[in-house]
């Protein structure tokens, strides 16, 4: 056995480049998976810690879906129900010029109620004088780290902005929790007395929630029952964490998509290992045959090959983990920015690495490597000593396998397609289906290669003469070597194409939708925390001022309230539409004018496509909307296309909204200017008239449109990065495979050189051959890429986010596919060609 290990080690050392590429492939695969895991996990963890820190040790919470809680509820709970362990909370977001780019969480509490809930609020030795906290108007306490970052010491004031209003908070103390968790949870918290928080957040008279601690068992049940009797409609008692879970659930689909992409990189890494292991077996067939002849058993051969793979797996995983941790730091920023753009505010202070994630990455790396090496290892072990040296055996076996693989592949792809076609399956299963489609189509590539090469042969012959013919025979005749490389290249390119088409279609759909939706000339909202969603309430006098600007000829108002429930949430919107803005909606299977007539006549609501998709709602159904008067059943008048949020939206006319809600506020305002008026100029005039302590965001149609597309582009940066990484892994795989093929044929080339082939002709031969493989891969990748994009656009996206996208297939994407494959293959051919051309025929012929 020692002899075997030595043989193995020598072989690997003699093929250092290949060894390096194999390890690199595994490393990249592992790194991508780990970094995505760490990035999504970090953002979730940061959200969880911050949610837990602010909800403290509460077991239950009273929350309201429809409006702030009435602040009088707390004294009723305490006095009528004797519910001692109850704490009022007012919560919201602020930003500060002293802490640029950071969303700050304002947590307003009553220190007297905090004892059982948030120990960091009260407790001796924290250096905070509770009397100062209570009696200094707009006093704030923050973690020492945050104060240092803002450059503040106790006694200083912190300028903040909340929904466009400017405030000055007085820093009366800092806390420096020794507990790591509390420290992380407080990283973005501005702790204020409830009075100051109400004032700053514009919640005077209301509470965001009431935290409770209820005992378990029947006693707790009885208390909970008592609590429910004093709740108004729309207010509910939920267990602590329900809301955090619901919020966290918003990003589930987003996470699954990222994880699927990251696994793709690992699958490419597996291809690479498979290639490397196959070649190491193919190249050593003679050696293995001799070993078998002298009595080495099949098991020993099997173990030998698998051990080699395992070592590559270990090395690749180790490098991959290190690489992944570096990569994760970059990806965390992209991932959290997207979450902040689209879902909720989260600030990741650190990137803690769970040992479990490292284990998972290492196990994936090692497991994938060994798994990929298994087929070639089995093949090597199965070799009969006598025929081992003959490559023709491998080739005839390949010829036997090709049609069968194509059939199996087609069946697998059809099976995957069938899974995808089932309307009921979830997102994860859809990805499994997608994997089957990809793997199945990959299995058909050898057959496809044979067909294509045959089709191209006359052409090659015509253009390249004998060399062209030789090149085409080289590809088809060495299928056992070329097929895996071509398959890998096809998959990589098709995934790139698929993602490209998907992103392009998505962006195109969004652009068209924006063009249709953004009917007004100027949009006014408050600076908010989440880029894609307006929040807060515009000042009524400002609305009056803006609307009465001489150039403004009409306006629409928008009121958006976010409702949380179950596994996510949606936005309830009240619209007061100017007649000019009524065509902004594009309905699914319904007459626009008819729906809008019913809508403006307060006859029901319209819902966005993601909302309808998530809840299985159709036009004509009734949906239940929580209101202060209790839940209301409203008819769905129409389902409109909406790409603004994957969480869904329900819109009703302002009249209907005012009937149920005592909430005259306006979240954003759309203004129409007269014909020929310069919107930019009007925006400048409007903004100039705003009081200095107020900040509004007034944007022209064009600015808002490009801002929206910016958010989109930012969102897909992560995808683009992953796409690139996956392609790099695949490219490395192809590079190593092609190199191995060409290097293995050095003896053959030596013979050709001896016959009189010049170095230039050899160059031409090798490059034609790899170019042919690239061309074949590119051509095969186009239909496969289109198939993938169809799945991603019409199945994955729909199931993840509920959007219908228009598929947009430009020739550019397809040309790009073929170009990529060609380029990849040509680049991969350069080194072997250069090396062959340099080698003296005699050396090459000396062989083993």
């Amino acid at each position: 056995m020692k002899l075997l290990s030595q043989a193995s080690a020598r072989y690997l050392l003699q093929h250092r480049v290949q060894l390096f590429l194999s390890v690199l492939g595994v490393s990249l695969g592992v790194a991508v998976v780990l970094s995505i895991d760490v990035a999504t996990e970090s953002s979730r963890e940061a959200f969880r810690i911050s949610a837990e820190t602010v909800s403290g040790r509460a077991t239950h919470q009273i929350v309201s879906d429809v409006a702030p809680l009435d602040e009088g509820l707390l004294s009723r709970l305490r006095i009528e129900l004797g519910l001692r362990e109850s704490a009022p909370v007012v919560e919201g977001y602020a930003s500060s010029a002293a802490l640029p780019g950071q969303a700050l969480r304002v947590l307003g509490v009553d220190p007297f109620s905090e004892g059982p809930f948030r120990p960091f609020v009260v407790g001796g030795g924290l250096g905070v004088d509770v009397a100062d906290f209570l009696t200094t108007q707009r006093a704030v306490v923050m973690s020492r780290a945050l104060a240092e970052r803002a450059g503040l010491t106790v006694g200083d004031s912190l300028p903040v902005q909340v929904s466009g209003d400017s405030w000055s908070l007085q820093l009366v103390g800092t806390v420096d929790p020794t507990d790591e968790l509390a420290r992380a949870g407080l990283a973005d918290v501005l702790l204020m007395d409830i009075a100051g928080a109400q004032e700053v957040l514009g919640l005077v008279g209301g509470l965001t929630r009431i935290d409770l601690r209820l005992p378990g068992g029947p006693e707790g049940e009885a208390l909970a029952g008592g609590v429910r009797t004093v709740l108004a409609p729309g207010e509910s008692l939920v267990t602590a964490g329900t809301r955090a879970d619901a919020m966290s659930g918003m990003i589930d689909a987003f996470d699954v998509n990222l994880t699927a992409l990251s696994l793709l990189a690992l699958v490419f890494g597996m291809f690479l290992i498979y290639n490397a292991a196959t070649f190491s077996v193919v190249q050593r067939r003679a050696l293995i045959g001799r070993l078998r002849a002298i009595g080495v058993t099949r098991g020993e051969v099997l173990r030998l090959i698998l051990a080699e793979a395992a070592w590559i797996g270990v090395a690749g995983s180790a490098v991959g983990i290190a690489l992944g941790l570096v990569l994760a730091r970059g990806l965390v920023r992209l991932v959290t920015r997207t979450i902040n753009d689209l879902y909720f505010s989260v600030s990741v202070e650190s990137v803690p690495v769970e040992p479990a994630l490292l284990m998972k990455a290492a196990a994936l790396g090692l497991g994938a490597t060994v798994l990929a090496a298994l087929p070639p290892a089995l093949e090597a072990a199965g070799v009969r000593p006598r025929v081992a040296g003959l490559r023709s055996v491998a080739e005839s076996r390949m010829r036997y396998l090709v049609p069968r693989a194509a059939v199996v592949g087609l069946v697998a792809a059809l099976l995957g397609g069938a899974v995808l076609a089932l309307p009921t399956v979830g997102l994860t299963v859809s990805f499994v289906g997608l994997f089957f489609v990809v793997a199945g189509l990959a299995l058909t590539t050898p057959a496809g290669t044979l067909v294509l090469v045959r089709v191209l042969r006359p052409l090659l012959h015509g253009v390249g003469g004998t060399l062209g013919l030789l090149a085409s025979r080289g590809v088809a005749g060495a299928l056992s070597r070329t097929a895996p490389a071509i398959a890998a290249l096809v998959v990589a390119v098709s995934v790139t194409v698929g993602l490209g088409v998907m992103i392009q279609s998505f962006r195109g759909t969004l652009e068209r939708w924006l063009d249709g939706t953004l009917r007004a000339d100027i949009y006014v909202s408050l600076p908010g925390v989440t880029a894609s969603r307006a929040t807060g309430t515009l000042w009524p006098d400002l609305i009056d001022d803006f609307v009465s600007h001489p150039d403004v000829v009409g306006h629409s108002t928008y009121r958006g309230v976010d409702l949380l429930e179950g596994g996510g949430g949606y936005r309830l919107v009240a619209l007061d539409l100017d007649p000019r803005g009524q065509e902004a909606f594009d309905f699914i299977d319904a007459d626009e004018a008819e729906v809008m007539r019913a809508f403006t006549a307060d006859q029901g609501v319209i819902v966005s496509e993601p909302f309808a998709f998530r809840r299985g709602v159709q036009r004509g159904d009734a949906i239940e909307i929580p209101t202060p008067d209790g839940p209301q059943n409203l008819e769905v008048l129409g389902v409109f296309y909406d790409y603004g949020s994957d969480q869904g939206a329900v819109m009703m006319s302002r009249g209907l909204y005012d009937r149920f809600f005592d909430d005259p506020g306006v979240t954003s305002l759309a203004l129409f200017v007269g014909p020929g008026v310069d919107s930019e100029q009007v925006v400048r005039e409007l903004v100039a008239g705003v009081a200095p302590d107020r900040t509004v965001v007034a944007r022209t149609n064009d600015t808002l449109r490009s801002a929206s597309l910016d958010v989109f582009d930012r969102t897909f940066q992560v995808t683009a990065v992953l796409r690139l990484l996956a392609f790099i892994v695949a490219f490395v795989g192809v590079l190593s495979a092609l190199m191995a093929i060409e290097l293995e044929r050095s003896r053959e080339f030596g013979v050709m050189r001896a016959w009189g082939l010049t170095p230039a002709q050899l160059w031409k031969l090798v490059v034609t051959q790899t170019g042919l493989m690239g061309l074949v891969s590119g051509v095969l990748a186009v239909p496969m890429g289109i198939a993938l994009s169809v799945v991603m656009i019409f199945v994955i996206n729909k199931r993840a986010f509920g959007w219908t996208l228009d598929m947009q297939l430009g020739p550019a994407v397809l040309a790009q596919a073929i170009g990529l494959a060609l380029l990849g293959a040509l680049v991969a051919g350069i080194y072997p060609a250069w090396r062959m051309a340099r080698t003296r025929p005699a050396v090459a012929l000396r062989g083993e």
Partner: protein
């Protein structure tokens, strides 16, 4: 009296959260004493000279003064003969002289603390509870007309347009009390016409009046059991912007109700060296409600006859006293009805029901009940 409860309240605010390292708590405590012995009386009203009390207004709050309390203690007996002592106190404390401003109903400079204790003398158990709330948003507060003082569901309030009878209610877990208190004897003004000097400096004084014999009837609940009870209660009302003077560490306060119709209220302000401060004071109230002032060390003498050691940290409290007013023939023996009546709340002190026997006015044999408060023993190093 009970000026030092200002410390109790403020300390409670910074340390009501539960277990903290002892050193930190000690530090917080000491720094608070330092803070309060300083000059933060600025901006508050002060008790500088006797005032004209007016009722029912003066039953209500005086938010310009830093501290104030409604302090009810009493001894009760059930129909079946089970004895109880109770203490119900609501403290008001101004955290700053002025309101913080702003539109929120939660904005306040007033904080409230409540202590409720029940001595279940019959079975030898003692229950004590503490609460805090801000004086806003309906959680806690005080109003004069009609009288209503409350901290969540602990309340002391008039039951009609008249101030008396008062209704008192408090509960925590399975311990509850609900009493109706009649006025009993008229108001007694302590000190100089209700101005009670606590330190040598002007203004280091409180306004102080009491109802010393209020017939009480109601119900006490302990666990599964509930008792109809009767007895006598004592209401102390005091407001001030004062603190313990330098060298004072605490006090021993006695409120005794004798069955011949007399009451005695005395307090000894203890100095660091264990001696009585000259400002220690006392008074006797005759059956008609007339007060007889006592000069400490000349008219009235007090000696501890025993001690009780706290199981918490070994703090030793005096327990059992001999109090004499030789000129009038008074010679009383005062014994706690339970040893363990220490309130283990933010600021530890002993406040408990006592029984009295001996000789009263004119040397006649007399019995009685009362309440004793001992502060400055636990936590403060002399």
């Amino acid at each position: 009296m009970r000026a030092q409860r200002a410390f109790v309240l403020l300390f409670g605010l910074t340390a009501c959260s539960g277990p903290e390292p002892a050193a930190e708590v000690e530090g917080a405590r000491l720094s608070l004493v330092e803070t309060l012995s300083g000059s933060d009386t600025v901006g508050y009203a002060r008790a500088l000279e006797p005032r004209a009390f007016g009722f029912p207004v003066d039953h209500g709050p005086h938010p310009d003064f830093r501290t104030e309390w409604w302090y009810v203690t009493g001894n009760l007996t059930s129909e079946s003969g089970r004895d109880f002592g109770f203490q119900f106190t609501i403290f008001r404390n101004a955290l700053a002289p002025t309101l913080p401003g702003g539109p929120s109903a939660w904005a306040t400079n007033q904080a409230y603390m409540g202590h409720f204790a029940l001595a279940d003398v019959g079975v030898g158990r003692f229950h004590a509870f503490e609460r805090f709330a801000r004086g806003a948003a309906g959680l806690a507060g005080a109003e004069a007309e009609p009288l209503r003082v409350w901290l969540e569901d602990w309340t002391l309030e008039a039951t009609s347009d008249e101030t008396f009878p008062l209704s008192l209610a408090a509960s925590d877990g399975d311990v509850a009390i609900r009493l109706e208190l009649a006025e009993g004897k008229p108001v007694v003004y302590q000190g100089d016409r209700g101005l009670s000097q606590k330190g040598p400096e002007p203004g280091n004084a409180s306004f102080y009046y009491a109802h010393t014999r209020m017939p009480a009837a109601g119900r006490v609940v302990v666990g599964e059991e509930s008792f109809d009870v009767r007895g006598l209660a004592w209401l102390d009302r005091e407001w001030s912007t004062s603190a313990l003077a330098e060298g004072q560490v605490g006090w021993d306060w006695f409120a005794l109700q004798l069955d011949d119709g007399w009451e005695m209220m005395i307090y000894r302000l203890r100095r660091t060296d264990g001696s009585a401060d000259p400002l220690s004071d006392g008074v006797l109230i005759d059956p008609d409600g007339l007060r007889v002032p006592l000069e400490w060390g000349t008219d009235v003498f007090m000696d501890a006859t025993g001690s009780w050691t706290s199981p918490i940290d070994g703090t030793v409290y005096p327990s059992g006293w001999r109090i004499t007013v030789p000129e009038r023939g008074w010679d009383l023996s005062v014994e706690p009805r339970l040893g363990a009546q220490e309130l283990d709340v933010s600021f530890r002190y002993w406040e408990g029901a006592v029984s009295v026997s001996g000789n009263g006015e004119g040397g006649a044999g007399v019995e009685g009940r009362g309440y004793v408060e001992l502060t400055g023993y636990a936590g403060f190093a002399p």
